[in-house]
Symmetry: C2
Amino acid sequence: MDKKSLMVTIAVLGGTGKEGKGLAYRWANAGYRVLIGSRSSERAVTAASEIIELLEGSGSVVGTSNQEAAQGANIVVLTVPYSAHRETLESVKDLLKGKLLIDVTVPLVPPKVSKVQMPAAGSAAQEAKEIVGEGVEVVAAFQNISYEHLLSEDDVDCDVLVTGTSKDARTEAITLVEAAGFTGWDAGPIENSVVVEGLTSVLININKQYGSTHAGIKITGAKNK
Amino acid sequence: MDKKSLMVTIAVLGGTGKEGKGLAYRWANAGYRVLIGSRSSERAVTAASEIIELLEGSGSVVGTSNQEAAQGANIVVLTVPYSAHRETLESVKDLLKGKLLIDVTVPLVPPKVSKVQMPAAGSAAQEAKEIVGEGVEVVAAFQNISYEHLLSEDDVDCDVLVTGTSKDARTEAITLVEAAGFTGWDAGPIENSVVVEGLTSVLININKQYGSTHAGIKITGAKNK
């Protein structure tokens, strides 16, 4: 737990889902103050209790509404299903000015989730940028992680590609990627989010074709330190 | 060298470039009959001689025009710069019916080659499919490989994601991926080519940010045999 993490509050919107809960657990475990946001404050409070129990009482995790979580945080992480992506962003966008938004959303279009089908903006992250407007840095990250093992300290054998609207924003996000126990890579501008989000459909296809359940990717031939 | 490879002739169009020459070398080394195609038959003949020399005379490699190479092959591999993609395809499309086209093209738009910028069709491979029309299976592969080490038997630490218009086409292409010494993965339908082609810009960005020269990817958590 370093000093930096103590000064940063992370909101995890949609934090009652398995992705959000897993990330919240890992960041609270690393010493960050975490606000779990949900459309239902009640469910957010329950999720926060579960995480504190996993942490044996040692972490700072509070459940509240998406709006209160967004308002109280320095960094806002969006972990909702794509069907709730626009609505959730619209409901918090006025609370995001000057903050970093980390979008974890994968724009899967059921039933063909193994086929890349991006929204008109080019990717969910670019769509988020369009919705939140100026004054908010947007980063895409964590789309390729299998969430089953996040609620433990297990190693997850998958790197995290980070795209975003500025190098500073990507660097800040990579700090959180590493705090959550992953290797993060600066994968370039927000326009590259189509690759990171689309890779999830490729990995779903690999799981389907090869009978695996947790296909991931690792970057080779480069050192990130 | 198995019997199957002896019955298959591979045309490598644009085979005088380093990508094409490297792949041609590896397939000839694996026992395939290879036709090197180029706009200049003369340069194709020179490239073929170079490869035969590397193989110490043991391979079947012939240099000729792009058209003659396409006509004489069962499988046609396109390794031209994106600027020559459409023109080359137009010049051979009538010779491709009933064949498999493997498109290696990455639609980079200089000077911003680390930013994903796809053509209107969605990807170079989808554009190729639009140009060649019905009766030709199109697969995208090999976009993420660094070509410096192809002209040797060095291991290249990068997997090959294969997308394409049918599962049979992808399976056939994966046979050639393995013959060239790589691990190949069925990465799904042709619409997923945006991920594979775009990943090249992500890897270029990683090379730029982390001072590497050969960043690649490996699939984790799945077994392809």
